[in-house]
Every structure is written in C-alpha cells, then in structure tokens.
C-alpha cells in the first residue's frame, strides 16, 4: 500500500482492494533477453477460443517466425515457430491450465543463425482498391500474426479490432494499470517501448475509426506516465495529420483496475451493463503490450513469437523482467533467473491474485503468461473460519456481487440461486478472498459455482 495515500483523489472505480505491491524487486530492472534453450513446446490452445490448426509434421524443418498453425475459425489465431529448428513431435504435453494439451514440440537447430524468416507478404487484402477490404486485411494480418491480449486473458486481439456491423467505436482505452502485485512487465514495456506503444495505439484507433484514445496508468508508475507523455508529444509533432486525441490518465493504485470494465469506470466514469461488452458503450480496451506487438507487426512484419514476462517472488534467486520465446519451459526460465531457492513452495503463472498455481515445471510459457511467481510460504496460515457477516467481501467486489452469499449457495448446491445472484458476472479477481477475515476460499467456491451454473444453463 506504499502509494495508496498519495493517489487519493485520482480517478478510479468503486470498490476494489489494495494488496501490497511487491513490485520493488523488478520494477527498475531493464528487460533482458532469454538465451535459447534446446526444446520448445507450443500448445495449440494458447488463446481464448478454438485451438489453432497444426500445419507442420514431425521431422519438418521450420524457421524462426514461420507459421506452424493456422487460425481455426474467427475467434482463433495463428501460431509461429519461436526458433529455427525441427518439429520433433505433435503430441499431448502439460499445459499451464493443468491438463495435457496437443502441442508442437520443436528441437532447436544449434547451428542455425536464428534469423527471422523473410517477411511474408500478406496474401491479398492489404492495399486493396476499396477501403473495406483494406480494413479486413488489417484484421486478418493481426490474426495471422497470432496476436492476442497480452494482459493475461489471451483473447484474440483481431476480434476486438473488427467493428461489428451496426456498431461503432468512438473510444479506445489502453490498459497500462498492471494492477496485479509483483508483475512489472507492462511497466517495463511502457518505459522502454513507449513510442511503440503510442504508435500501436494510433494503429488501433485508425483501424477502429475512434476519435478518442486514453491510456490508463496507475500512479505508482509515474516514470512510465512521463515517458508515455513525452513519446506522445513527439509522435504528435512528427505527424500533424493524425486524427484523434490521445490522453494519458494517471489513476489511483487499486486492484483490479486492469479489468476492462473497471478501467472504463476509472477512465471514463461509465459502467458497462451487466452481461454486456465495452462495445455497447462504443469503447474497446487493449493492453499496452498488445499495442506494442501490433506496432511491431506492422513495422517489422514480426509475428508474436516472444513476450516479456516478470520472474519474481521470494522463492527465486534473481528476479528479472525477461523477453522469452513462447514455448520455453518455465523450468528453463527459472534456471536463467538463478533457479528456485530451496524454500520455494509454490510456483504461480501470472500474478498472485488471478494466476494459476502449477503442479509441474515442464509447462511452457504461453501467450497469456505475464509472469512466473515463486512463493516461499503458504499464503494462508490460519484455516477457514465461519462467516461472521462482516460484509467486507461486498465492499471489495468490483462487480457489486455478494460473494459470501454465492459461496453459501455453492456449498448448498443451489445452481438456480447462483444464476439469480449473477454468478456469471464474476470475473474471478479474488478481491473477496483477499479481504475475507475468515479465510473462506470465496473465489474458489464461486469458480465451482460458475461450473455448476453452466451445467444448469446448458442441460
């Protein structure tokens, strides 16, 4: 809560919590590059939506940046080889979601130069005679570059770059909150690639025809706010003809501000209707790292083959911000960061609030991996106690739900009651579990409840 006192009065959303930040270990470390390892494992399902369709065979030689899987439907993206090497197998391998998933295994070619493949000319579409096909071409390029939301949810970005018929987009909000404790990868991207973030933002706004752009950054990253403002004024002075205004908004430090509905509330003071999308308010939200990846794609024809992740926590010897090729096993990344300390007890992919605890270290870094967090002691020392009706979870829930009631309904197997209490509006930010003085695993129970409710809704 280091900055909480100084950020009062700045815009934010209602409810939410103030977890300790723990960002000090890595926020001032420049992004370093992970050396290549011998094997890469690329699950076909690295995004929300249908898994990609594998287009390589075992034994085939692939070059860094070459496409190895095609999108399978509209809500799906392509996948590219992160290294030059040979496809060793296409088989079931451990996935960060805890299950085994169909993955492409690539053994690196030790003597290859690791040059990127010659930029592939986008097939048709681009620069076509009429405007609409040009726009479709851009959406397809983003899909074929395999770009997904790099904030953590890994939703295919091109879907949010296509304005559905009958709708329009007036505002683009870029998410630079990074409200999860420990993580600093977006912070470093904003500092080191500020101009790229701004250029990506311009591309997104141009594509969507949006007149207004906002970049929401929490106040604890004041250096990033300044760098972005400088990059913005430079960008503006270079291109006078650009349409639309971009503004950097400093926000209060609060979790879960990086959730798109909370961010819209914080930046624009508008509420997305329950069960609705930001699009209903003519708004689209993207992450800063995604904007940077889109700029990279347009300027250098680079597909998404690597991402910045934060390796941190008390359990890791040398915390760092690292650019990691997709598919690198997390064991190798941890080794690069000095390895785990003997007292490390838990490894989480993502942040401590919404991240997923792992049962083995063979799982690869995927597009949605924002960090590797090694914790030393169990976070919960006292066991569960009865609910004392203090109502703290109600004050914490950013979606204005009643987590204690939902948990009770789950324990009593009342699926219909769950639906009428809007269990599906929960996006599992874990604020309720965080504040509960009785240590009731509220968000865990609500996740069970969501599965129950889905079973009732789709018999």
């Amino acid at each position: 809560m280091t900055h909480a006192g100084t950020t009062e009065g700045l815009p934010s959303f209602s409810h939410g919590v103030h977890p300790e930040e723990h960002k000090g270990a890595t926020e001032s470390l420049p992004i370093e590059r992970m050396p290549f390892v011998s094997h890469y494992v690329l699950p076909l399902a690295q995004h929300i939506g249908r898994p990609s369709k594998c287009i390589v065979r075992p034994g085939q030689h692939v070059q860094r940046g070459e496409r190895i899987a095609d999108p399978n439907g509209f809500v799906s993206t392509a996948l590219h080889a992160p290294v030059t090497g040979t496809v060793e197998a296409v088989e079931l391998r451990p996935h960060p979601n805890g299950k085994l998933a169909e993955s492409i295994v690539i053994a690196i070619d030790a003597f290859a130069s690791q040059e990127m493949q010659e930029p592939q000319k986008p097939e048709g579409g681009a620069g076509g005679p009429n405007g609409s096909s040009r726009i479709d071409g851009f959406v397809r390029r983003v899909q074929e570059a395999g770009i997904v939301g790099l904030g953590g949810a890994a939703f295919p970005s091109h879907v949010k770059l296509q304005v559905p018929e009958g709708k329009k987009v007036t505002t683009v909000v870029l998410n630079g909150c990074e409200c999860e404790p420990y993580l600093t990868c977006d912070h470093r991207v904003m500092l080191e690639d500020a101009d790229k973030v701004v250029r990506g933002m311009r591309l997104i706004m141009q594509q969507l025809g949006a007149a207004h752009g906002y970049i929401g950054v929490e106040r604890n990253k004041s250096d990033a706010i300044e760098t972005l403002r400088a990059a913005l004024s430079q960008n503006d002075s270079q291109n006078d003809s650009q349409k639309g205004s971009i503004e950097i908004i400093a926000l209060q430090v609060k979790y879960p501000q990086g959730a798109e509905k909370m961010l819209i509330d914080a930046v624009l003071h508008e509420r997305v209707p329950a069960g609705g999308l930001p699009l209903d308010l003519e708004i689209v939200v993207h992450n800063v790292a995604t904007a940077s990846a889109i700029a990279d794609m347009v300027e250098n024809d680079t597909p998404l083959i690597e991402r910045v992740i934060t390796v941190t926590g008390d359990g890791v010897r040398r915390p760092a911000n690292v650019v990691v090729p997709l598919g690198t096993p997390i064991a190798a990344v941890l080794e690069h960061c000095g390895g785990l300390k003997p007292e490390a007890r838990q490894v989480i992919l993502g942040g401590p609030m919404m991240g997923v605890a792992q049962k083995e270290l063979d799982v690869p870094v995927v597009k949605g991996t924002s960090g590797i967090l090694a914790l030393t002691q169990p976070q919960r020392v006292v066991g569960e106690q009865p609910c004392i009706r203090c109502g703290r979870c109600l004050d914490a829930c950013p979606m204005f739900l009643n987590p204690a009631r939902l948990a009770q309904l789950v324990r009593n197997e009342r699926a219909e009651g769950l639906l009428s209490h809007h269990v599906m509006s929960c996006f599992e930010c874990a604020s309720c579990s965080f504040v509960c003085p009785s240590h009731i695993p509220l968000v865990h129970l609500i996740r069970v409840g969501k599965a129950m409710a889905r079973k009732v809704a789709v018999p």
């Binding site: 805890g98 997923v356 605890a357 792992q358 049962k359 695993p441 069970v448």
Partner: protein, 281 residues
Amino acid sequence: MNEIAIAGLVMTGIAGFFGVVLALANRFFRVVEDPRIDVVEGKLPGTNCGACGEPGCRSFAEALVKGASVPGKCTVSTPAAIEDVASVLGVDADFQEKRTARLHCAGGKSAVRRLADYQGESSCRAAFVVNGGGRACSWGCLGLGDCDVVCTFDAIHMNDEGLPVVDVEACTACGDCVDVCPLDLFTLEAVSTEIIVQCSSPLAGEGARLACEVACDACGRCALDAQEGAVEITGGLAVVRSPSRATEECTFRCPTGAIAVVHGDQFQEMELTQLRRSRHA
C-alpha cells in the same frame, strides 16, 4: 340480549354465504384425479431418487397409472412391493435388469504419481477447477468424495486408496454420482456386465504408465484376446463394445490390470492385496 342475537345472525349469515361459495367451487372447479395414483404412490418407497427416470415417486405413480412406465423401473423397492403395485394396476411387473454405478478409474493413492499438494476446498469439483488437483493423470479420480456425499442411499464409500467403492446391493442406479463427478468417471452398467475398463486416460504407451501404474496404455492385447469386435481400442483406451460377448479371457494378458473382471463391488482385490501386504509387514 338483542346485540347477541344480531351478532349470532351475522355470523350465521357469513357462514352460510361461504358455505354456498365453497359448495359451488367444489361443483365447478373440481379436478378429477385417478384414485389409483394415491394408492400406487403409497406403495412406492418414497425416496424420490429419480432412478426410474421420473423426477419423483409421485410423478412415477402418475406415469404408471397412465401406462407410460412399468413398475419394474423402480429399482429401489423390493420385488414383493413391485408385484403389489403391478397387481393393483393389473399390469406385468416387467422387472428391469439391476444396474449399478461403475467407476472407470483404479488410480488410487499408491498407483498414480503425485506432482503437487492440493490444499484447497475438499471437494472434487473445487479441485477440478484449479489445475485438477495435484495428480499426474488429468483424467482420473480425484478422491475427494463428492460422490460419497451426494449418494442418497449411502452406497458409496471411499476406501483406503481414496477410491469410491459402490455397494452394488445398496446402489439403485439413480445416477446422482454420474452427474456430480467432474471427470465423468461413473457409468451405469448392468450388474451382469463383468468386464470393466477401470481407466479413462486417453494416453497411450509409456506416457500412460508414467502417470499411473494401473492405466490402460492401449497395448491392444485385450482386443486381440476377446471375440471379434467385443473389445476395441479407441482413443488410447480399451472400450467394451459388446458386454455379453466380452469374456474374462481378454483380461488375462493386461499388463496393468486396467481391464478387469468385476464380481460384485469394485476394487475388492485391491483391498485383499493391501490386507496381504499389511500382514507381511
């Protein structure tokens, strides 16, 4: 005196008025119900388990009287009570073959490799939403006993290996355990089906055996030894295609014991082996 008389008259008047209203309501809004429904319902066990396919005993009684179901579909009641129901209705009892829930996993604590500790909510469905517990096999029994809790007939008990054992005598095949299991490990099988594949892992070969000692590794010996088409290997798993033609020969060469002959309750042999082991120790 006069006031009491007025009060008495008013009360009598009101009583008379409502009496007439009720009499008319009984005459015009009457619903004729088959009296046999009540009789039949009285003879049913009243557990509302749903094994017959109806939501409860009352609607089963209605279905019986309508002729939409047969008395034998009630697997909870005693044969004598079912005969009784059949004689009231003047129909054939039409006894159904007794079915029971069978678990398609034998991966107990000592058989499956454990990768991590799960310390959350003690429920299979809760463990399932976070990485599927700490077991190496993502398809097998989590052993936290949601089926034990949900069973109305106290027919499921967790054994020392952390596997649910279904008491065939007590099981009514109501299907609650089938619904509650997040991994869909239970199926309802006729008691006469004795060849059961006790594994659900789609992995084949070494991958399957590394995760669990008793996994089906899809070696295919059972399919070769069984009669043509009785057992098949599909999706890395042996599948009994024709229970009546699958005989115990097909289990003899199984290297892991994943396909097994089951008489009565499952996992009896496992307990015997444990007993033997404990006596050795």
